[in-house]
């Protein structure tokens, strides 16, 4: 017997809140130092990565951003971090950030996207914390730990709920 008054599928989602999504990569050099990049449009340093374009999955966006920003094709490993952040005054929607293990790269092969980025550095985790944004600072140690232990971390505003 068909259930009565089923909501048409196209109305399930009407008016429901949406959010932005971004994907970044934890990339290291052979000595285990982490890669951070300095965009020319921000004061702080960032993970390599960026926002998802229409039609992309998080890992597709991550690989595209790595290719665009540092000129390398990388095979992504585990999803390391899922971090949900509420809206801010500058960003009116919530943002979820996915960080994937991008593995080890050879610094000599990096070709930086000079249109958007001024510089890249491989640094110790402690040093990265002095360069990264507030959000990046919270995510980096979690990402490094997740890579070490093999456990993805779900965070809400950088912290384990």
């Amino acid at each position: 017997m068909p259930p009565k008054e089923l909501t048409p599928p196209d109305q399930w989602l009407e008016g429901r809140p949406k959010h932005l999504a971004a994907a970044g990569a934890l990339l290291t050099d052979a000595e285990g130092r982490v890669l951070v990049v300095k965009p020319n449009y921000r004061d702080h340093w960032l993970f390599v990565g960026g926002q998802l374009d229409e039609g992309e999955t998080p890992e597709q966006a991550c690989r595209r951003e790595v290719k665009e920003e540092i000129g390398l094709d990388v095979a992504l490993g585990e999803l390391l971090v899922v971090d949900w952040t509420p809206p801010t005054r500058a960003r009116l929607l919530p943002l979820v950030v996915f960080i994937f293990d991008g593995g080890t790269v050879d610094p000599a092969r990096i070709r930086l996207d000079r249109e958007e980025l001024d510089e890249f550095r491989f640094v110790a985790v402690a040093e990265s914390l002095e360069l990264l944004s507030v959000n990046g600072r919270r995510r980096m140690p979690v990402a490094v730990d997740a890579k070490r232990t093999g456990n993805t971390r779900y965070l809400s505003v950088g912290a384990r709920p």
């Binding site: 068909p2 089923l6 949406k18 039609g55 585990e78 999803l79 919530p94 456990n151 993805t152």
Partner: protein, 160 residues
Amino acid sequence: MTQLPQAVLDGFATSYAVVCAFATDPEGRVLVVKPTYRPEWQFVGGMVDRGEAPHEACAREIKEEIGIDLPVGDLLLLDYVPAHGFVSAPMTIYVFDCGTVQDPAQIRLQADEIESFACLPTEEAAARFHPTNRARINLAAEARRAGRTVYAPHGDPMPR
């Protein structure tokens, strides 16, 4: 932080966030519910509301739909479904480990949205799900056993 121009933000994809509770009874059977508004069964769960983080939405949906509190624990499965058909934007689906329902007899269903619940072996539960969502039951059960999170865009575990 420098504010990004709205024109820049407009180019980015926005998505819906959906949360699901993976809970089992003391015998390890999976808790699933039959909503009034669609023909297939599903996990307890729903969409993230304004001002909520996914784990908070999951706790709220559990309380609303089955009238009990369950602890929202580890993220078991993250699925990312691109826009398709009537789904006009991508959906990020979070399946959380919500532990064990010690006494299913205490469940009180949200009458206008949920018409029944059942605790079923994984294959029976999967058979009642929409085909698109079926894989999530075994993936979540496996993730709980292994103590890890599975990233499975389109319901497929990411190839390594």
